[in-house]
């Protein structure tokens, strides 16, 4: 299959390891990966913060960059939501039926959906000998409804000890602009998330979205929590010593 990789701008700049991991995963499975060079930012932050005109412009750019792709895959659950769920709304608010059509023409998948549903694989031959807990981000859990797909993928990883995160489904407090506009509440929320993560005794907390992980990881780092954050894709790409 020919897969067009969509790397969130945030991941491009801050977490390039995630995009590299997705590339190596998909290539390992025998698929052809491309990276459409025109892509920049899907407009998610502009949309959710209320800058709807700017979001529409970015959405037009995005659909142009990925036009004609067979399958668009991203490791950012919230960006997948932006394109799939928000673009029709952005098009409506901008009164732009062309954008609505262009968005409808795109087959955008979040990574775990793509692996489990489209490719039908859960065992990626990964080896990761660590104690890991998984945080279901709100957008992957509630909007995309990825359900237990990430957990199925993690359970197939050799050497990995998966521990359940208490109160896993509670928001970590990131929420895009919320983390800045309501920094105090945001921090109060992540404090509880961090406490739960540490209670598991895990070495690594993973998720399917680097934005929430930057939040959880940022708090863990400030507190010298001794727990690493890692995108799920990076765990799945680990094959260990051959």
């Amino acid at each position: 299959m020919r897969v067009a990789l969509f790397v969130a701008c945030f991941d491009d700049a801050m977490f390039p390891a995630t995009g590299k991991a997705v590339t190596s995963l998909l290539e390992r499975l025998g698929h052809e990966v491309s990276y459409p060079p025109g892509q920049t930012c899907c407009g998610q932050v502009h949309w959710t913060t209320g800058y709807h005109r700017e979001a529409a412009a970015l959405a037009r750019g995005f659909t142009g960059a990925f036009e004609g792709s067979e399958a668009v895959v991203t490791a950012s659950a919230s960006c997948a939501v932006a394109v799939r769920d928000a673009y029709p709304r952005i098009a409506r608010s901008a009164r732009d039926p062309g954008l609505a059509r262009a968005a409808e023409g795109l087959a955008v998948y979040e990574l775990t959906e793509f692996l489990v549903d489209v490719l039908g694989v859960t065992d990626l031959g990964a080896y990761f000998p660590h104690r890991v807990t998984y945080h279901p981000t709100c957008q992957s859990l509630r909007t995309l409804g990825v359900a237990d797909r990430p957990l199925r993928l993690l359970r197939a990883v050799r050497g990995l000890e998966l521990v359940e995160l208490p109160a896993a489904e509670e928001c970590c407090g990131f929420g895009g602009a919320f983390a800045m506009k309501n920094a105090d509440v945001s921090v109060a929320m992540v404090a509880d998330k961090v406490r739960h993560v540490r209670d598991t005794g895990a070495d690594v907390v993973c998720a399917a979205d680097n934005s929430c992980l930057a939040h959880i990881g940022g708090a863990l780092s400030r507190l010298r929590g001794g727990v690493r954050v890692m995108h799920l894709a990076e765990i799945l790409a680990e094959t260990g010593p051959v």
Binding site: D12, P16, P37, Y51, H52, A86, R142, E169, V185, G218
Partner: protein, 485 residues
């Protein structure tokens, strides 16, 4: 708790306190350990109750039916309201229309004053809060006796309700005991702080009021257009006393409370108790239609309030908020509400529903009202539980758009607007983006020590107040991709 400077006969509004922005009010709430404990306890026990009783097998169908009933009611609101007025009038009641809070206060005050009563008993009514009724009554020398236990606690505490259904969710037993000892005549000094004893003390105080009261003021959960019936749900039975003992009954309701047909209650009376408290049925469901000679009140007045509701109705996305049946389920699951409580959302409508209702009713000009749509992480827990399927995150994002549009019209652009515009311009072109990316990375790496950034300047400084940011790697993904063999 109330100013008594008004001249009798004039409905003087209590001077509204300048409400702070959500973030400012939340900061104080977050620092209040007792409040945090009480809220954690209250929301956890409400969630537990909701989770304890099994969801009926047809729950999703019920929700869908509830959504459809409420949507239909709103779609033809004017026709239903006319029908309601006809039916109420035929049953011997009188309907009054209030365009805003001031008009509603004037109407109610005139009705009370016409009876000559110096005291009224009040059952739960959010609309009474919305119009600032207690202040107006007090200014006219009329005492309002709250009969719902939690409202009594709020009244004695001199603050605002913090939850739609449990207005005193921010108080614990010890605090309530203290308030009773100070405020309730005849409360024994050895009053224990257990719920049963506190309820007993309140009951003794209330009974006296009921027997003497000639005027009652209540809210309503639903108004049935075809029959002219008002319906009220409660768990204490005190509202029922208000409905039966006094001579004059004044019911306040927002115009959106109407439902077309009696049969619609079948669905709504299943949804509301379950979402509110995990119950199959609310202990007391009262309904009344006009007046019945020789039985109950001799005069019935229904005051219907607009106060921004038709404006909300005109908004295609925002109008979904008017479907709300005030069950509180969205508050009980909201991680933000659980930490800040209701007061941070301003008066009357707290939690996720308040965040989408208040800015629609009051507009988004003030900084406080404009901050409400942003008082959410958009986590979606509220939308999952709402019995009438209001997509609260969708409405929040929509209202954020309204806030930004209103700020664009200001002569001087806000720093945020400039930043977001600049960002969109940069992102509008891959080459511009990449140049900015390289510059930004270099700059961010200079700010970092040992792989982490501990302080960012400007608007981003809020992030690093309590969180680090990893230093960006020298090579971006796209640079790596280009270098790949």
């Amino acid at each position: 708790m109330t100013a008594s400077s008004g001249t009798a006969g004039e409905a003087r509004a209590p001077v509204p306190l300048p409400t702070p922005k959500f973030a400012t009010a939340a900061r104080a709430a977050l620092a209040d350990t007792r409040l945090r404990r009480n809220l954690r306890g209250a929301t956890a026990s409400l969630r537990e109750r909701a989770g304890a009783s099994p969801e009926p097998g047809d729950w999703e169908e019920l929700r869908e039916a509830g959504r459809a009933i409420r949507d239909d009611a709103l779609l033809n609101l004017d026709a239903h309201l006319e029908e309601l007025e006809r039916a109420v009038t035929e049953a011997g009641g009188t309907v009054h229309w209030a365009a805003d809070a001031a008009e509603a206060r004037r109407i109610v005050l005139a009705l009370v004053q016409a009876t000559g009563a110096r005291e009224v008993v009040k059952a739960r009514s959010l609309v009474a809060r919305e119009i600032g009724l207690n202040g107006a009554l007090a200014a006219a020398g009329i005492t309002a006796r709250e009969t719902a236990l939690a409202d009594l606690v709020v009244q004695l505490g001199g603050d605002e309700p913090s939850h739609l259904l449990s207005p005193a969710a921010h108080r614990d037993g010890a605090q309530i005991r203290e308030l009773f000892l100070r405020g309730l005549l005849g409360a024994p000094p050895d009053l224990p702080d257990e719920p049963a004893a506190l309820v007993g003390a309140a009951r003794a105080h209330l009974r006296e009021g009921f027997l003497a009261a000639r005027v009652a003021i209540t809210g309503a959960n639903f108004l049935v257009a075809e029959t002219g019936t008002a319906v009220l749900l409660e768990s204490e039975g005190n509202a029922r006393m208000c409905l039966t003992l006094p001579d004059t009954l004044i019911t306040l309701a927002g115009i959106e409370k109407v439902v077309p047909a009696w049969a619609d209650l079948e669905v709504l009376l299943q949804l509301l108790p379950r979402s509110a408290a995990g119950e199959a049925m609310t202990p007391y469901v009262s309904s009344w239609t006009g007046v019945t000679p020789g039985d109950g009140p001799r005069a019935f007045h229904l005051v219907l309030l607009d106060n921004g509701r038709t404006r909300a109705l005109a908004d295609e996305v925002g109008r979904a908020a008017l479907r709300c049946v005030r069950c509180s389920a969205c508050l009980n699951v909201c991680p933000v509400y659980e930490r800040t409580g209701g007061h941070a959302y301003g008066p009357v409508y707290p939690g996720p529903i308040g965040a989408i209702l208040t800015p629609q009713m009051r507009g988004v000009e003030s900084a406080a009202d404009a901050s409400l749509p942003y008082a959410s992480t958009l986590c979606g827990a509220c939308a999952d539980v709402c019995p009438v399927k209001i997509d609260i995150p969708e409405v929040l994002v929509h209202l954020r758009g309204r806030v930004v549009e209103s700020r664009r019209r200001r002569p001087v652009p806000t720093p945020e607007l400039l930043m977001m515009r600049g960002l969109a311009w940069t992102m509008g072109d891959a080459r511009r983006y990449e140049a900015a990316l390289r510059r930004g990375t270099r700059w961010a790496r200079l700010l970092s020590r040992g792989g982490r950034i501990r302080r960012l300047p400007g608007l981003l400084g809020k992030w690093t107040e309590a969180r680090d940011l990893p230093a960006p790697p020298a090579e971006s993904f796209r640079a790596w991709w280009r270098r790949r063999p």
